[in-house]
Symmetry: C2
């Protein structure tokens, strides 16, 4: 019988798992540095949690099911925000202000797998609830940037594209969209690269966007302004007065104070289709525009209320492992063989084959491991110690411990595999010596 | 709209998540110390993977589903062994010998939730493929014990109950069970505490186990022999010759050499119902017999072959988070409030409210975080610095940094929250001082 992993899912052998864990460690370390605390929810939720937020249309994109004999409809989680909003609503009265939460769950989408988009993937979610204002938005953007920096990406490798729903709303209305069509216009503009130009023009016209208005919109979204740059340029391209971009002006100060000016630019083309965003929105893209977005998020002040909690200011983002992995690999920031990221053994214990050595090997290995050391050993005794030492080097051990004829005197050979230096030491000295890192090779 | 987590699943708020991460860290650290490498597979698999191993009867215990418009049947993974065997079979030719893998995935069972048994849970899986023999079995049991020891459990808190399918098979045959009914007898004996005595006696009789044979079996399984004890006692109770327990005798030497004698005992009552075990089997129980098994596993030499690979010796176990968490809590090995396990901030930065302090706060926080430090800060400026320092202590920060009137001279107040010592230092000294751990309080 032969089985494969379901289409769009992945098997993580040790080398691939080490890459995943490296990315997750950067996410976690950045979260902790910024004072966020980890949470998680169930892998599946009541289906209604997702239709409540996104409408019945979401169902076809979900893996949904019932328990045999049960009557509740469940769905594998496609994103974290509904779970987070449900959890925040359930404990609204007891939670501190602000709530700073992060999570690193897996998500599921019943779509056709594509480059950068799988049916199961891992995604970092960061959310700050209870407070609002430009400095809060900058703090949340800052934690995303901190993780990328920890992974070796520089401000020249990625662009954090920042916009604001309120400013973008003024622009869209100035272009002729009626108040009740603003949300629809955001959704259409967000999907403009995903449909034929004809269809886009037709749908835009239905929302009140005439061809000349669309041309002005295109001019505005082609105009990207560095955070330290002149917003007047953007206002002119968009055909609005600079004062109508006041929200971006306020964000500018907070982004500069948070040390993020080099990473960010204003880009009114970032509208984020989802209807629930209410303020700052941002996406992080590879600098040349390759691949899908690395991360996306924004302010969603109404969502906790939707799930039965009080009205709660909230700002958050998601960053998936798939696109980020592609960008890191492309920039040479992941080893060709992920196995290089696996933990290195402190010691590799080999037996030269005498019965006394065979008998001592499991005892010594157990003692070293009980001391918390990472220890591997040969599984076959042989007089060809050279072969065993080659195994020890291949497994990147720091020390080799050779149980040979010296064992009769209570001694073993200890070899520093970096320097090649080898000496005979009493058995009792093995643990303390291996515990100290070997001298760096010259 | 109010939603709850699906029945039998859990929300992990920061305190609960910290407990989960503590358990997972012990699992991971023990795995790495023993030279195992982490893997993972998809959260759902083709349904056929599970029916191939366990028969169609498993389907009612699974959450199974199809993609809308798709024709493949999937199921949420109820255990890891089929995924592991599939992955090993797929790369059989390239894998090293031995393969030493561990995983910490979540699993799903569509059963009625009970104490110690939920619909979604986390489970540590450890498997060693490609080699066999008592020392291999002892190494695998050793990694389970190492994780329990890292969590603070002692040999007196838990019992590792060890048996061997071959020896147990001789016993069962000696009791009158025909060769073709041995597997059925193991399954029945494994479930003997889960059915009414009448039903058990009837089913046992059908397998050839007469009442007097059952009485002998009961005598044998009531007889537990310490690893350093006398196997003759067990042989006598079981009514077999001591030589028929040769496999246990061989295990004894390996368990002693691995330093596991205090933790383990021989217990012929451990048969593990699953048909695929072929040699050593073991379960770990709380010492007084409270709760379900903490862990269970054994040798399964035929499973990789079942999934299309070559015949591969294999030994492994699973240890879930739910029962283990109950045992740890019962022994006082988890803090009453899991939040005590959350990472402590290195610094808590507060502003005394002057505009210059308000302006400096985000800059200083960004610099400290860029240096890799865990930094929190006040979100409200106030002249009541005492209130802010109370917040800093409540969040268990090591240092408080107070941006006050000294800022005009480029200085800040730095308070060691353990000792209460407070001094004025130049802004530039904050990062290096906070990076050094504060002097222990006396």
């Amino acid at each position: 019988m032969k089985f494969q992993a379901p289409k769009g899912t992945r098997d993580f052998y040790p080398a691939e798992m080490a890459v995943r864990r490296r990315i997750e460690a950067a996410w976690r370390d950045a979260s902790v540095a910024f004072g966020f605390e980890e949470i998680d929810g169930p892998t599946f939720e009541h289906l209604g949690l997702y239709t409540a937020k996104s409408g019945e249309g979401i169902v076809s994109e979900l893996f949904s099911f019932r328990r045999a004999g049960g009557s509740d409809d469940y769905a594998l989680r496609p994103e974290f925000t509904p779970t987070l909003a449900r959890m925040a609503a359930a404990r609204a009265a007891q939670l501190p202000v602000p709530v700073k939460w992060f999570a690193v769950p897996n998500f599921f989408r019943a779509e056709r797998p594509q480059r950068g988009r799988l049916r199961e993937f891992f995604q970092w979610n960061v959310d700050l609830l209870g407070l609002e204002g430009p400095s809060i938005d900058a703090e949340v953007i800052g934690v995303a940037v901190a993780a990328l920096a920890r992974l070796g990406l520089a401000a020249t490798d990625v662009r954090v594209k920042v916009s604001h729903r309120v400013a973008a709303g003024r622009l869209v209305r100035a272009l002729g969209v009626a108040e009740e069509s603003v949300a629809g216009a955001f959704e259409l503009l967000d999907r403009r690269d995903k449909m034929p130009p004809d269809e886009f023009t037709k749908r835009a016209a239905a929302l009140g966007l005439a061809p000349d208005a669309l041309a002005r919109f295109e001019a505005a979204v082609r105009t990207r302004v560095p955070v330290a740059g002149d917003l007047e340029v953007l206002a002119r391209a968009a055909g609005v007065h600079a004062s109508e971009l006041a929200e971006l002006e306020a964000l500018r100060g907070a982004l500069v104070a948070a040390g993020l000016a080099d990473w960010c630019e204003f880009d009114l083309g970032i509208v984020r289709g989802l209807a629930y965003y209410t303020g700052t929105v941002f996406e992080i893209h590879e600098a040349s525009g390759a691949e899908r977005a690395i991360a996306g998020g924004g302010r969603y002040d109404g969502l906790v209320e939707l799930f039965g909690g009080p009205r709660t200011p909230a700002m958050g983002f998601g960053m998936g492992d798939v696109v980020l992995g592609l960008v890191l690999a492309d920039r040479g920031l992941l080893p060709k063989d992920g196995a290089e990221l696996l933990p290195r053994p402190d010691a590799f214990v080999v037996s030269a084959g005498e019965p006394a050595a065979e008998e001592e090997l499991p005892r010594l290995v157990a003692r070293l491991r009980a001391a918390g050391l990472h220890v591997r050993h040969s599984y076959k005794a042989t007089r060809n110690v050279g072969k065993l030492l080659a195994d020890a080097s291949k497994q990147r051990a720091r020390w080799a411990v050779i149980l040979g004829s010296e064992l009769a005197q209570g001694q073993v050979q200890l070899k520093d595999l970096a320097s090649g230096e080898q000496r005979v030491v009493p058995l009792a000295d093995v643990t303390p010596t291996v515990r100290r890192p070997p001298a760096p090779s010259t």
